[in-house]
Amino acid sequence: MPRRIVIGIRGVGHRVVDSIWRLGYASRFFLLILLKSGTSLRRFGLITREIYFTGVLSLIIILVSGLFVGMVLGLQGYETLQRYGAESAVGTMVALSLLRELGPVVAALLFASRAGSAITAEIGLMKATEQLAAMEMMAVDPVARVVAPRFWAGVISMPFLAALFSAVGVFGGYLVAVVLIGVDEGSFWSQMQDAVDFRYDVVNGIIKTCVFGVAVTAIAVFEGYDASPTAEGVSGATTRTVVTSSLAILGLDFILTSLMFRGMS
């Protein structure tokens, strides 16, 4: 067999083994976070502080994006539905799209870009500037003191951000469909109220946001903690957080959707 092919096959094998090893390492790290969450949960102030940085500071991008997504949905929904004389169902369309899919997915993608990347960069820089090593030398576990509070802050913030995204999105749809175009306000709200089922639509949406919150934040803290302690290492880790989180969100969304909404009329 030509030498080049052997080298190629060896390279692929090496990458596969590396990826599996890294996945195992990430899983062990995730378990470690859960095991060492006691300190953060006892000292909830540590988590509250991080909720401000990951959750509250993400509000602007979430609210503005939610408003525009809702407005676009209202406009597109009206354009399509009015062909069949069903423009009064635009509220239903906006609400279901947001609650089931767009709210959780788009909010999670924005959260990964805004907060996930910030978490990775912060932890990565703490590592590069020896802050984590200093903490270890002070007999303080960085996983318990730095990683776990950020993880739980992300997990707690995500459902609230997605809920706000959907709420503002519905308001954006209302602005376009009712205020601008003139769809009947009563039909808009009453049809939405009839069509949206709390168990299937709202609860399933919340479950999705929780899963996305865990996935995005776990990826973000792992990439930060595992980053090479150099400028290049931190920038690479930040990029990996956004790319991996986005792919994880879309993949998980497909799996969750197929489990939650399969066979629904």
Binding site: T129, A134, M138, A139
Partner: protein, 270 residues
């Protein structure tokens, strides 16, 4: 009377993969002394501190701190031991999201149940010792390199440790800050009765404040002695290092093929 030994290092070997960094070191460090560990870049000085602190395990041999084998300690025992030791990192490693005050208070809040009023008094006393009480509200980004190193020093003495390890404390400091940090190390060691290990390249400044010096070259102890012995040494390595000479046993050039062959001049000029 012989002073009590705090750190005992015996036949210590350490490798990063295939690369051997430390080869059979033997050292003893007594309580209440300032000990300098000197050597060129990459000679394994910082690795030695990491071995003493238990961040890495030796390939063979051992480090004993206060009679305990560091590499045999379980994680909680190691953390208990670390509460009695401190490390000053090269650039301070201050927590950038905390103020100067909170940086110094960090360990007190993590490891003690002291009331906040007492923590406040203790923090201000530590900051007073390094001359930065007035800077307690500043963020680390607002400090100069020398000030950051002094805050880190205040943080490292927060719980009155038995041992402080200083990793290149003089690097990148102006002459005034350099003298201030040097004097602080000496004064704090004497006042608190602790042991200080100073890893440094700065021969002149460290010889003024230390009690004993170890020179490490190529992973082994090339020489050791008191500052007076070091200054008077005629050993080629010590002489070259202390006087900063280019010629001597330590080569300026990284190992390479012959210069002539790299410039393709081996066959003479055409």
């Amino acid at each position: 009377m012989t002073p009590e030994v705090l750190i005992e290092i015996k036949n210590l070997n350490f490798s990063y993969g295939e690369r051997s960094v430390l080869k059979g070191l033997d050292m003893t460090m007594s309580r209440g002394k300032v000990i300098a560990v000197m050597g060129g870049s990459g000679s394994g000085k910082t690795t030695l501190l990491r071995l003493i602190g238990g961040s890495v395990r030796p390939s063979s041999g051992y480090v004993k701190v206060a009679g305990k084998l560091v590499h045999e300690l379980k994680r909680d025992e190691l953390f208990r031991m670390r509460r009695k030791m401190s490390m000053l990192f090269q650039f301070g490693a201050l927590f950038t999201d905390l103020t100067v005050f909170d940086n110094v208070a960090f360990q007190m809040r993590e490891h003690t149940d002291l009331p906040e009023s007492m923590i406040r008094d203790l923090v201000l006393m530590k900051l007073q010792a390094v001359g930065l009480r007035g800077a307690h509200n500043l963020m680390p980004a607002q400090l100069s390199g020398g000030m950051a190193r002094r805050v880190a020093l205040a943080r490292s003495i927060a719980l009155d440790p038995l041992l402080i390890m200083y990793d290149e404390p003089f690097t990148g400091l102006d002459p005034i800050s350099l003298t201030v940090i040097g004097n602080l190390i000496r004064r704090l060691t004497d006042a608190l009765g602790m042991t200080s290990i100073v890893v440094t390249h700065d021969v002149q400044e460290s010889l003024k404040i230390v009690d004993y010096v170890y020179f490490i070259a190529d992973g082994v102890i090339a020489a050791h002695g008191t500052p007076a012995e070091v200054r008077g040494s005629v050993a080629p390595f010590v002489h070259q290092f202390v006087h900063g000479e280019e010629d001597g046993p330590v080569s300026f050039h990284y190992p390479a093929d012959s210069y002539a062959s790299d410039l393709e001049l081996e066959n003479g000029f055409a």
